[in-house]
């Protein structure tokens, strides 16, 4: 085929991005931009045995304006490598299934495929044989070509690629002759590893990291050709002057593979409990059935109206199955006694409240459903549900069981290089001593994405005149952001109606019984898949333990909803900033704010959670809300409608919902427009698309009689939290947990300490501070004892009105749970009929403590274990 530009008869179809971990040396964005700059009409992305970069490349290709050909390089176990390009949607599904098969067989991060697998899934795939792999003699090449031709017929090709080795012309001629003999057409490819020549040095370093060697030892493990970057079509045509057909065939392949990820039609699982009802009918039935439980005095008319409004919106967008899914997960968790709570914008929905997904009544709190679901947005809602951290796995397995492993999988998280890892790995490859790379890595924060600067190295007394050091720092900075491997998202599930492995390859996760798709959360969002978040929250686990302890020791049956509301003693404690260990309001920044904000009721906590940004309050950061609350600034509302919207926050917009309500009430925005305003503010740094809303808001407000400077000030206030705005619903969900944990800490500090220690690691503070805080509140804390401690920390009888906390074996570093449990279990069996463990060290009991004080008692007998009680946990650990 001919294109209008005669100089560009070539598309690059053989491109490795950095999603081929430790191999490709350029991001997909860089490759696409360079392809456009060089005038390549299309780019075929062929990462090794993976489509991990494809979703991202698909988005970027649209933005950049380069046609993306979906493809994959399949490296098979029998030494054959093939580039595969699906011609249509069903061929793509087969490719996904093929990769899923290989990954399932090989385990995490690997792929094991054979020629037979490829043949079985090959329908509709174009296959380009790569002839230059190791160990391929002439005969075996011919043999392979015949097999390829037999299997793929007119969909078989042979790649001609320059290797920049001696005898290149002869080699290419032989390959072309072979291809003709086998009646397989040839196609020219560039085998690209990076977008520009300058990246070669980084690619060498990647090779070293992959091979675990230094650059000096790498030898022929390095790529020998320095030519593996993208070339302009004219340059490729010049190089393959003897094979113009092979060059032109690249465009033939592009034309034969019109498939794009845009064709993926995601379908949500049906969620049919009752076949006679549609999902929408099932949802409506559930809502009206459950509403009286939330409103025992009858459903108020405004609530009923809101419910009808929400159900209408849900119906219009066909989101009913999604709500049903979340509802069934939450119902399962409740039945299994697992604490859970919806968070985020879902709390704006009365439907979610009625179904028990969230704990905040959005109508009473004046929340806005359009913040959650908007017709204008036409994108899936996002219901995040937090579960007890330690029991989340049960929920995850239940989801797998209910939806089936072929229809449910977790999203991936792409683990990328950050500053520390990059400088360590590059330094190692460059042959720097470990102490130097360690010292360099210690110069930056663990999460830093900025890299180690030259002056940081100079501060360590290192010689920046050294070329290796300078190169290391520069290359490490270039490496930051490179994908390193795929990991699993903590709880983002993708559920489908049909087979998931027809949409995206699935691989087994490192953890048993889990599987992960190759795409991450952002990819899923961009392709409009629905996702259910099953997140873990340590504080929920802590509270469940606290409730169990209260029931066992104080005969007090509580749950989140049953905690006495608006308790004065609790708020007094919070005002003293005596909140170590409490959810959310325990950081130094929050503690510094508490005495000033002086919370007296639940809503104050909602505000506290929302306005305290990390970091103590510096003079210029004092919030206008605080000034008004402390009476240092007058509270004034120019109009009654503004007072209605901002009254509860003293006229200062604090939440995203309020910004939206201001726009609706004072400037005549529709709810959907207001949501668009909120979203544009959250991202306006990147897009600059906010000025259109500014004009509209100010015009709308002045038309309604507001002064222009007031309108501008209002816009400024709304704009102010583009970067940090909090949905009120989210703050309210978190404030509820903050209040519940404060209540337990205030009234039962012994129980709180014990539960919090058993829920570690979580929160802001280490066990040392939790224990210290408990002791300062008069709780007796007893040391780890080989005779008394169970695995978890426990409560023991003590003299005062409080229990004493006995530290558990879980506190002992390096002691495995199984071993700790064995100690506790063995202790019981030895004690039968004796009343006490023999005083002398008994190897069987694991009691390595020297025999001072032979007065050890039965566990639970109440008295402390005397001298032995002051414990030598180290010996206990060593004896195991």
């Amino acid at each position: 085929m001919r294109t209008s530009v005669p100089a560009a008869p070539y598309a690059e179809l053989h491109v490795t991005s950095n999603y081929s971990f430790l191999r490709g040396a350029s991001h997909v964005e860089e490759l696409l931009l360079q392809a456009r700059a060089l005038g390549l009409p299309a780019l075929g992305l062929t990462d090794r045995n993976t489509l991990a970069g494809m979703a991202r490349a698909h988005q970027r290709a649209g933005e950049v304006g380069v046609r993306l050909v979906v493809g994959c390089r399949l490296d098979m176990a029998d030494g054959i490598s093939v580039l595969a390009y699906p011609t249509d949607r069903s061929a793509y599904a087969r490719l996904c299934r093929l990769l899923t098969l290989g990954k399932g067989r090989a385990g995490k991060g690997a792929c094991h495929l054979t020629w037979g697998d490829l043949a079985a899934h090959g329908e509709g795939l174009l296959a380009v044989l790569l002839p230059d792999e190791a160990g391929a003699g002439l005969d075996s090449r011919l043999d392979r070509l015949h097999r390829l031709r037999a299997e793929f017929r007119d969909r078989a090709y042979l790649a001609l690629t320059l290797r920049r080795r001696p005898g290149e012309a002869v080699r290419l001629r032989r390959l072309a002759d072979l291809a003709r003999a086998a009646r397989v057409p040839t196609v020219a490819t560039g085998d690209v590893l990076y977008h520009v020549p300058q990246r070669r040095i980084l690619q060498d370093v990647l090779t070293c990291i992959r091979e675990g060697c230094t650059i000096d030892e790498a030898g022929f493990r390095r790529e020998r050709s320095a030519d593996r970057h993208l070339h302009a079509p004219a340059e490729v045509a010049r190089r393959f002057a003897a094979y113009p057909d092979a060059v032109a065939r690249t465009l033939e392949i592009v034309a034969r593979c019109p498939f794009s990820l845009a064709e993926l039609r995601y379908q949500y699982p049906d969620e049919i409990d009752d076949p006679a009802l549609t999902p929408q009918q099932t949802l409506e039935h559930l809502v009206w059935e459950n509403a009286p439980a939330r409103y025992p005095d009858g459903v108020p008319e405004n609530i009923a109206a809101q419910l009808r409004h929400e159900l209408r919106l849900i119906d219009g967008l066909a989101y009913a199955p999604y709500f049903l899914t979340v509802h069934s997960i939450v119902r399962y968790a409740r039945d299994a006694g697992i604490l859970c709570q919806g968070r985020g914008s879902a709390a704006n929905s009365v439907v979610c409240y009625v179904l028990g997904i969230t704990a905040i009544d959005p109508v009473r709190a004046g929340l806005l459903f359009e913040r959650f679901v908007s017709t204008a947005r036409r994108e899936p809602p996002d219901i995040d549900v937090d579960f007890e951290h330690e029991r989340r796995e049960e929920v995850i397995q239940w989801v797998y069981d209910r939806y089936g492993r072929d229809r449910a999988a977790l999203c991936a998280t792409v683990i990328r290089y950050r500053a520390r890892g990059a400088v360590r790995d590059v330094g190692k490859a460059m042959g720097l001593p470990k102490d130097v790379t360690g010292a360099l890595a210690a110069q930056v924060w663990g999460w830093s994405e900025e890299g180690v600067a030259e002056e940081h190295a100079a501060a360590l007394g290192l010689d920046l005149g050294d070329r290796r050091l300078r190169l290391t720092l520069a290359l490490a900075r270039a490496l930051i952001g490179f994908p390193r491997h795929l990991s699993q998202h903590p709880g983002g599930f993708v559920l489908t109606r049909d087979r998931l492995d027809a949409l995206v390859p699935i691989e087994p996760a490192a953890m048993a019984d889990r599987q992960v798709i190759e795409w991450d959360k952002d990819d899923i969002d961009a392709l409009h898949f629905m996702k259910v978040d099953v997140l873990g929250l340590g504080m929920l686990g802590c509270l469940r333990r606290a409730f169990e302890l209260l029931e066992a020791h104080r005969a007090l049956r509580l749950d989140l909803a049953a905690i006495p509301a608006e308790d004065e003693a609790t708020f007094a404690m919070i005002r003293r900033a005596d909140t170590l260990g409490v959810f959310q309001i325990e950081s130094q920044a929050q503690m510094a704010m508490l005495p000033r904000l002086a919370p007296r009721r639940f809503y104050d906590l909602v505000i506290e959670v929302a306005i305290v940004r990390p970091g103590p309050i510096q003079g210029d950061m004092v919030h206008p809300y605080l000034r008004r609350r402390e009476g240092r600034e007058p509270v004034a509302y120019p109009t009654p409608e503004l007072e209605r919207v901002l009254g509860k926050t003293l006229g200062v917009p604090l939440f995203q919902e309020q910004a939206m309500r201001v726009a609706i009430a004072c400037a005549g925005f529709t709810p959907a427009e207001a949501d668009a305003l909120r979203r544009s503010m959250a991202t306006f740094k990147f897009t600059g698309g906010v000025s259109h809303f500014k004009d509209k808001l100010i015009a709308g407000m002045t038309a309604r009689g507001y002064a222009r400077d007031f309108a501008e000030r209002t816009f400024g206030q709304i704009e102010g939290f583009g970067s940090y705005g909090f949905p009120e619903s989210h703050a309210a969900s978190f404030a509820l947990l903050a209040y519940a944990s404060s209540w337990v800490k205030c009234h039962h500090p012994d129980v709180f300490c014990c539960a919090l220690l058993n829920a570690q690691p979580m929160g802001f503070y280490a066990p040392a501070q939790i224990v210290r805080d408990a002791r300062e509140h008069g709780v007796e804390v007893r040391p780890v004892s080989v005779n008394q401690s169970r695995w978890d920390c426990t409560l023991e009888e003590a003299a005062g009105k409080r229990y004493a906390v006995r530290l558990g074996l879980r506190m002992v570093k390096g002691l495995a749970n199984a071993h700790g449990a064995a100690i506790a279990a063995r202790r019981g069996s030895l004690c039968v009929g004796h009343g006490s463990i023999p005083a002398c060290p008994s190897a069987r009991a694991g009691a390595g403590a020297p025999g001072r004080g032979g007065c050890a008692r039965l566990p639970g007998s109440g008295a402390p274990a005397g001298a032995l009680g002051s414990a030598r946990p180290r010996q206990a650990a060593a004896a195991v």
Binding site: P616, I617, G619, M811, V812
Partner: protein, 171 residues
Amino acid sequence: MRGLAKPLPLFDGPPAEPPVALAPMTEDGAVVEDYHSTGLSLRRHPVAFLRADLQTRGMTTCAALARARDGRPLCVAGLVLVRQRPGSAKGVTFLTIEDETGTANLIVWPSVFERQRRVVLTVGMIACHGSVQREGSVIHVVTHWLEDLSALLRQVGQDGREIEVPTRDFR
């Protein structure tokens, strides 16, 4: 057996073993063991053993900060519990340190941070030379410079091992 004057006392029963009086563990040694095995100690705070030394160096305790005037220059020492560098705080780093009397919150401005990256980011026990900043009941110490006290901390327990305090870093 000829040549032997008398049989060796191989089977005469166990020899009398003189009782060995093992020195009891010192208290600071026990604290070091506690920290190594459980990350906390119920005995005394490690810094308590260094108090005399710190006092001769002119360090105040964390608890004494509550009584310090605004703007007063002072030094305070302790184990680093939390390092925090929130994105919203214009590059300011916040450290929380702890001694046997309580905790203190330190503010490290970017200029000080850049001069002393290693100390801020890696050291387990520091002394902060700075001045008190009071905002109502909220007290911070604005850091002028930080001193690495890990060598001093290693003296606790006298066996040269440093107590490892689990520091948590937050953004």
